[in-house]
Structure formats: C-alpha cells, structure tokens
Symmetry: C2
Amino acid sequence: MKTRQWLLNDHPRGRPLKDSDFRLVETEIADEPAPGRALAQVLWLGFDPAQKGWMENVADYVAPMALGDVMRGSGIVRVVKSNTPRLKEGALYAGLTGWTEWLETDGAGFEPVHPDLPPTAMLSVLGTTGLTAWCGLFKLGEPRPGDTVVVSGAAGATGSTVGQLAKVAGARAIGIAGGPEKCRWLVEEAGYDAAIDYKAEPVRARLKALCPGGIDVVFDNVGGAILNEMLGEIATGARVVICGGISRYETGTMPAGPENYFNLVFRRATMRGFIVLDWASEFPEIRRRLAGLVQDGRLAFRIDEQQGFEQAPATLMRLFSGANRGKQVLKLAD
Amino acid sequence: MKTRQWLLNDHPRGRPLKDSDFRLVETEIADEPAPGRALAQVLWLGFDPAQKGWMENVADYVAPMALGDVMRGSGIVRVVKSNTPRLKEGALYAGLTGWTEWLETDGAGFEPVHPDLPPTAMLSVLGTTGLTAWCGLFKLGEPRPGDTVVVSGAAGATGSTVGQLAKVAGARAIGIAGGPEKCRWLVEEAGYDAAIDYKAEPVRARLKALCPGGIDVVFDNVGGAILNEMLGEIATGARVVICGGISRYETGTMPAGPENYFNLVFRRATMRGFIVLDWASEFPEIRRRLAGLVQDGRLAFRIDEQQGFEQAPATLMRLFSGANRGKQVLKLAD
C-alpha cells in the first residue's frame, strides 16, 4: 500500500519557515507488518515550536535531522494490524509518528490514549505540552501559595496549562499574550487572574501594576523583549524558568539577549532551562495527576484542529504567526 | 580636630565616572569620642566596582546614597581613643569607614584584622572580595573534582581568588583577562591552568579548545560579549554564577544582553545571581578557612596599593580602566 509523507527539504536556519523547507512524497509501505511490529494509521498530528529547532539541527538534545528525513513529530494512531503484544488492534496510541499517514512500528515509545478523555489530550495536556508545563513549573519554578507567577506566551498550549497549574498550587497567575481575544480567553476560561495584551499595552508598566511585590516565578515561552521586561520586575529569590523562545523563530535575526539579566544579582534570583525528557521516568505519574485535574474540571485545554495531511507545513507555521488558539493539531483521518 | 572627606557630588548614571562626581571637603570631628564610641584613623581604603552601583543608586540591596553623603567604602582603621569595649585602643579593625581620614564609630560592623596576615588582607582575600569568591563559587557554582571552571575578569581580586579556590576543590580553572601580563600572572602565580587574553585571542575558539567537554561552572565578573561567549560553551548541567558586570560600567551604554541565554535550555543549565551579604552569618567561618588557605600557601593574593587620600576618586577609576593589578587599595597613613 501507499502512504504520503512530508520530508525535510531544507534546514530553516536563522529565518522563518517556508513551503520549500518541506517536500511531499508518496512511498510504499507493507500491507502486512513484520513480526514484532504493527501497521498503524495516523489520525492526528501534534505541532510544537520545538520542531523548528529540530529542523534547524540546533537542538542537540535530540538526534540531528538530515535532509530527506521524514519530518519528526508526535501523533495519535489507530493500530490496524498488529504482530506485537505491545499494540492492540483497533486501539489508539500516542507517540512519535513523524509526518506520515501510515506507519509500521514496534510500538516503542507509544502510550495508550487516556480512556476517558479525547484522544488529542495525549498531544496536549497529557502530552509533551502538559508534561513541560508541569515539570517546568513545579521542578524549576516551585510556586508557593501566594506567589505571583507570570507566563509569557500564556495563551499557547503550554502557557495556558502553566497558569492553571499555578492556580491549583495556590499562586496568582498573570498571563502575557497577543490580542484581546487571547487575553479574554486567559481570564475567562483558563483561570488567569489577569492578562496583559503585549500588542496593545505597555508590558513593563502593566507588570509593575499587577505585581506590586515583584514576580516570584517567570515562565517564559517567548524570549526577546518580553523576557527582558519580566526580568526587570522579578522579586527577591525569583525563579525564572526558560521554557521556549518563540521570538527566536519569528524573524530572520536572533532577538537581543536580555539586558536585564543582571537583575538576577540584585534579586538573588535563578534562571534555568530544562529539557522535559530528562524526567521521562516520572511521566506516567505526572500524566495521571494531570488527567485527574482535567477530570475534576480544574484544568481546561483547548485544541486548534486543522484538517488534511497536505496542510501539515502550513499548520506548523500557524504556531509562529500566533494564529493558533490552543494546542495545534491536524486531523488526518476519522 | 579636622578630617578630610570625599562626598558624593553627582550620580554617575549610565556613564563612566568623572572627577566632578566627587567633592573633597574638610569637616570638624570631636577630639574626644562620645561615650560608647571610639575615634579611629583610617589607614587604608579598599575599592570595589560595586561602589559605582551604590553611587548610581541602582543597587537597591544597600541603602540609597544621596548627594552630599560621604562616599561609602571599606577601610582599615587604627583606634586612637576608645570609649567602647568593642574597640581596643591601638588595635586595627576593618569595616565600612567611608572615604574619610578620621571617623568616630561605635564599632558596629567592624572586625579585628587577622593577627598573622597583612592588615590589607581584610580588604581583599579576607574581605568582601574573598567572601564573594567563596560564596559565589561554592554556594552557587558547586564545582566538583574534574569540573572545568571558567572565570572572567580573572585577574581581578575576586576572579583570581575564584580560580585558586576552584583548584583547591579539585577543578580545572581557566581565566579570561585582558593583556599578556595579567594572563601570565594568572598561570604563573595564581595557579590557573590556562588563561585567555580577550584583547588578543578569539575567546570562543579558545574556550572550545580549552574546554572540550564544555564549561561546568561559569563565574562571570564582566557581562557583555564575554558572558555571551561563555554561555555558548556551557556543559550539560552547568552553573553560571553572575557575580559582577564590569562591562556595564565601561561605557555610557548598557552592553547587550547575552543572546546565548537560550543555551540554558539545551544544556539544562542554571544562571544565578547573589548578594554576598545574605551569608553574613557564615562570614567568620568562611574567613577562618580562607585565612587557613593563605597561611598554607594555597591562596595567593596581590594588593595594588596607591598612595594619598586625595587620590581616592582616581583610585576607584583604576578598576574600570583595568589598570589595577590585584585588589585595589589606597594607603592614607602609616
């Protein structure tokens, strides 16, 4: 049988993504999986800004991507034929599928979807997104009740989870996002105490007003000027969690480094980065807790679902233009 | 009797120091100290880049300095007349004297000089300089045997102490300094394993060559481009200690922030600032250990001694031009 695949066609280094970074091909795949393997159909793909870093090969915590490789990415599959006890026919699993419609896999790294939540939860709140929010916030940010947590890129899939987790932990959550619709959603749906629209409001002045005691935990998904403004308002002993840097991808040039880094001295503060995979051994337990919060109605998530395999590159680009509303996924099949 | 004093005459914000930032006055001081107080003569003043931050009032971890205040600074005094059991007549003490030739004090914050080391040791290796090196390195940097520690501003009073302490702890020490004389001194006298002359060598390439496994501990006294280069070469799990930022003072404009901060993510690394006064309760014990290392010949220090009270402003400026060789002090009297 045949499957379509998106291949890496160029390394988008130091510039935005473009259509010619990807190449659509059709390739042959066996109807009958080899012993110990299964044939699976991809139902959804999930998208993350880190994928651009993988394409650039700057992110050396993962294996390099060569030109001609199938685009790396997560997805949800339904197992159609299985020759391995790891994967049950008819069942749905989440894992690193790559950008393909069909794949043969031994099931390594694939997890069953949650029985009581929509399958796409495994690409968002129970996937790398939710795990990243949990680990970054609780292992590095360490919010205490009454702390003020400020999240940039707050309306993104990770950011909106961070704010809600901060609230669960008894902290105040302030989100920074672009545009009134995102800011309204943060406060009305995602439980943020306040939101700052960086496209319409002076970020520094709003931070001063909203965080009179300073920021105890910064959770940064953005970098650039917004990180710098947040660093300017940290409280003594603040924890600055560097999770992402989407501003690094927006333009052809690297954004300036944060001049206000020296406030780490005056505030005896800590700035840390992390790779969520370092805590992989804890993922089952963290996923169990995240699912519990969703089921208790304490953790909302929204999915931005686009349609059609041929839209994969355009769907990834939505992340960098800020077009997505919630976790970006692409539906390939029912 | 009369004493001369240097007063703060202008806040040197966002520009280098100049002569008119200081004003020399003569003022009256009682021959006989009040009950509970002592009259002391200042023998040496000690100088530190942080003093410019105090003058600017940007360093809010200390009380603000107003125009007309006596310049804040450390010194060594000899007690001439004492009406307090805290201070013995004829004995030498170190403390915050300010820029004055004589002062009356109740002795709060004054410590006796070490009986077996030169008095100026209390302004350098046993003073804030040595305590800063110890606390920054061991409380934040946490070097382990075999780690590679890179120090910027390595020929400065703090930097040269950091490298030697790293060696004592079993780590490799690489120093970055300006000019062949400083670099030679680092390797030949201060026990550094290697030195990089940033004025003559490509820092990034030399770091790559000297630290093939990456930098485990960055101890930064400089900021700007050198901090950025060091961040580009950190090892997984690195600790980046922000101690000072002398490049912030060199020019009228703030140096760019470190673009490579995002390497904290790829390297799961930590960048922290600190204020050494937070560990004041531990100073006696740390000072005891530092003195032991000096007496064992494991910790060298050098003093750059200028002469004459009227030279105080010019002596402070030596720190920012890189003219000083070792801890900058000024001798006022025998």
